[in-house]
């Protein structure tokens, strides 16, 4: 089965990356490359790819206001409009985009129809919304928490966030809630792709790979935190070295840490070229980010090529004498 091949291939690719990382831990030179050169290379690929995609999207014309209108538009003064679901001004639009990006408003709309005893029943289908939201928020929190490696002194916000995230105080070091919710989200999203035949049949290598890669990063991270502790001071020194453009020579290679690092590098470098770019695309999506003021405001099309106009008046001015001489009627004498 092709679909199973895709899952298998994704696993194999992840394992291959792991092997490369493990090998790097064994070799001094490879380790130096991984911690000294690779971060900058990866960052360059990421930034250039990201900027390239954004510029390409941003440059394509959007002459038409084509938002999906999910509520009554602004109309006559006595008709109640829905300023967020069908924004008539920039404030509503910001509200709509915020709901879209922070709360996944549209995904929440998803409903499911079933036929129960010959009757169509409209049920809500919020599982994807719930786990999708958990996953994305956890990812963001985890990303923020990692700032503690890159700032000195650590930004208070990051400290506060970490404290809040670990407030359950289970185990030492404290278990982070976001780690658990991230794993829950990943498991759900992965199982959904694998178990539902209707989703699995159309899933590609890249779909599984994205999930597995993030899972690999999360699990290596968790292993380092809870089971095979790494020297956090060394990690911090390394990270601060990157930020200050003076990466130190790695003190002692830690295979787990190298694995974690390798997975992150692959993710970051691959991201701009993959479907994960929806993180930027959503901001540019005309079905969402446009104000629905088609009828209240005039929108001229700035993308038309300039047309050189030669009006009849100008034409007559130019040829008036000749026209008169030929006996042609003229509008102005």
């Amino acid at each position: 089965m092709k679909q199973n091949m895709n899952i298998l291939l994704s696993f194999i690719t992840i394992l291959a990356i792991a092997l490369v990382a493990a090998a790097a831990a064994e070799s001094q030179i490879a380790g130096n490359v991984l911690t000294g050169i690779a971060p900058y290379l990866v960052l360059a690929v990421f930034l250039s790819g990201f900027v390239y995609r954004i510029i390409r999207w941003a440059k394509s014309p959007v002459p038409f206001r084509i938002p999906t209108t999910c509520g009554q538009g602004k109309s006559l003064p006595w008709i109640q409009n829905n300023p967020v679901e069908n924004p008539a001004g920039p404030l509503g639009e910001i509200g709509r985009m915020a709901a879209e990006i922070l709360l996944f408003r549209s995904l929440f709309r998803n409903s499911q129809t079933e036929i129960v005893n010959g009757r169509t029943v409209y049920g809500s289908a919020k599982w994807l919304w719930l786990f999708g939201l958990l996953f994305h928020w956890s990812l963001l929190v985890i990303l923020f928490r990692h700032l503690r490696f890159f700032t000195e002194p650590v930004i208070p916000f990051v400290m506060g966030l970490s404290a809040l995230d670990g407030f359950l105080e289970i185990g030492v070091p404290a278990l982070y809630i976001s780690d658990m919710t991230l794993l829950a989200g990943l498991v759900f999203l992965f199982l959904r792709r694998v178990v539902l035949p209707q989703v699995r049949y159309i899933s590609l290598f890249t779909d599984y790979f994205a999930l597995l890669l993030i899972a690999a990063i999360a699990s290596t991270g968790l292993l380092m935190r809870h089971f095979f502790p790494v020297d956090l001071n060394a990690v911090k020194t390394l990270a601060m070295g990157w930020v200050t453009f003076s990466p130190p020579a790695p003190a002692q290679a830690n295979a787990l840490f190298y694995l974690h690092l390798c997975f992150v590098f692959v993710l970051v470098a691959w991201l701009p070229w993959s479907k994960l770019m929806h993180m930027a695309g959503i901001f540019l999506s005309p079905t969402r980010n446009l104000i629905n003021n088609n009828r209240s405001q005039r929108h001229l099309n700035p993308w038309n090529a300039p047309v050189k106009v030669h009006s009849y008046e100008e034409y007559e001015d130019e040829f008036r004498d000749k026209m008169k001489a030929a006996g042609l009627p003229v509008e102005k004498e």
Binding site: W57, S60, P61, V62, P63, F64, I66, T68, T69, C70, G71, Q72, G73, S75, L76, W78, I79, N81, E85, N86, E100, S106, L107, R109, N110, S111, T113, I115, G118, R119, T120, A125, L128, P197, Q198, V199, Y201, I202, L204, F205, T206, D207, K275, M277, H278, A280, G281, I282, L284, S285, P286, T287, R288, N289, N294, R295, R298, L300, N301, W303
Partner: protein, 536 residues
Amino acid sequence: MKTLLKPSEISRAAGRLCRIGPGELAPLPPPYEDFNATVPKPLNEDKIKNIEASLDDTLAIGIPKPATKEEEEELIRRFLSGLRKLFERENNWTFLRQLTLSLEHCARCQTCSDACPVFEMSGRQEIYRPIFRSEVLRRVCKKYLTPGGKMTAKWTGDIDLNWTAIARLAELSYRCSLCRRCASVCPIGVDNGLIAHEIRKLFSQEMGIAPKELHEKGTVLHLRAGSSTGMNPLAAKDSVEFIQEEMEEITGCPVEIPWDREGADILLIHNAGEMLAWPENVGAFAILFQAAGLSWTLSSETAGYDAVNYGLWYDDVQLSRVALRHADIARRLKVNKIVVGECGHAHKALIETSDRLLTGKLNIPRESALVTLENIVMSGKLSFDPQKNDFPVTLHDPCNYVRSMGIVEPQRRILRRIAPRFREMTPHGVDNYCCGGGSGFAIMSGYNFTDWRNLVSSRKKFLQILQAFENEPPQTPRYVCAPCSNCKGAIRDIIGYYKAEERSRLYYGGLVELIVNALDGMKKPIIQFGEEPSWQ
């Protein structure tokens, strides 16, 4: 369980890609169970000998098979060059950002599938899934338009491009009614409806492939004869004269329907189909506008009495030609505004999409008839007797009003005022379902397409209508209010196909008829249930 069809099969599988077996369509409630095993009439094999019919059980376009190998290669070449143009700002600036984004950043979560009535009602046939055709296009673009695409195709989704795939893709773009319900649930704003539209555009503008009802007998006829119904200005005037007489019987006093009155406040443009199929809609507008004392006119210029603009569905060039004609007629009549009658796609085309085309003197204000009607009904100038509409009424929301323009409330405010037994469908408003006739389906009837529409794309609407009325006593006549000619056409066909007038006493009509039916001072009701008048 059937093995699920993959997008790559579009270029490989032999025979028809998808056949709907008896009993696979979503079941209907009693007394319509006898339709549960019905499938579209088989295509006449003699008639389709030289036609590409390898997608499913029906045909929307009916593309002739290429006669020679060279011809076939030429078609493939033109497809690829057209596809390239689709992504160039010089050649396709209209929806470029949305198209590029939709193809590039889809996260493949499949939320859209559950939103699609065609997919759901067809018994979840894979080819009707909103992302199926998008995925085909996405893979073709990745593999054939991006450098190195052929090498990465194995990983990003492989597909072979051949004539079979292209012909199937063309047909497949006419299995989506462009209702954009999927776009409204997408968490990142991908618009699969737009992708279907762009595919149609590519085939029409670059390869001359489009259903004849939309092109030769649609926009081309519209611009040449004056109406896509083929009615010329004289015939239009004739039929309006007849409507005028009919209306005078209803009002009991003279009804004036003005033609070409220069300097009138309003130019009213109907969908000309109304004049032929639903004359009482045109008449009701005249009665109401006269009663409200509006200054208005119709136009008898070529295309001036037909608001349709089929270009919206398949061809940007034809869209522009028709829109310019409409605006120019209004300019020459020196009216203050154009009011678009009860026609959903004409609303979108003339009021919104052509806004970018109509500059200078052509930029004449354009208003939705629903808003004009709301203004008349709620102004208090006219008196109504809602008790005359003492029958159950439900409202069908045309997709163009609600999901593309956000006109949701005016029609409801009117109904709450004049229809005491109004009830909503589930779901309704911006979450509505398409009538199944959207994007030209209602007028497309070649081969057995009507069968497919009634059985598959309109099935959801039929279920919704039945459910809206399910607690009514069996003998009560029920009125489906559909303020859009296209939707009315589709609903008329549903009622006819399923014999729903006999079985469920279903009747249908527009919104303005309901208003006039409740208007005080009328001699006779304008709404009739078969032979039975709606009030005495």
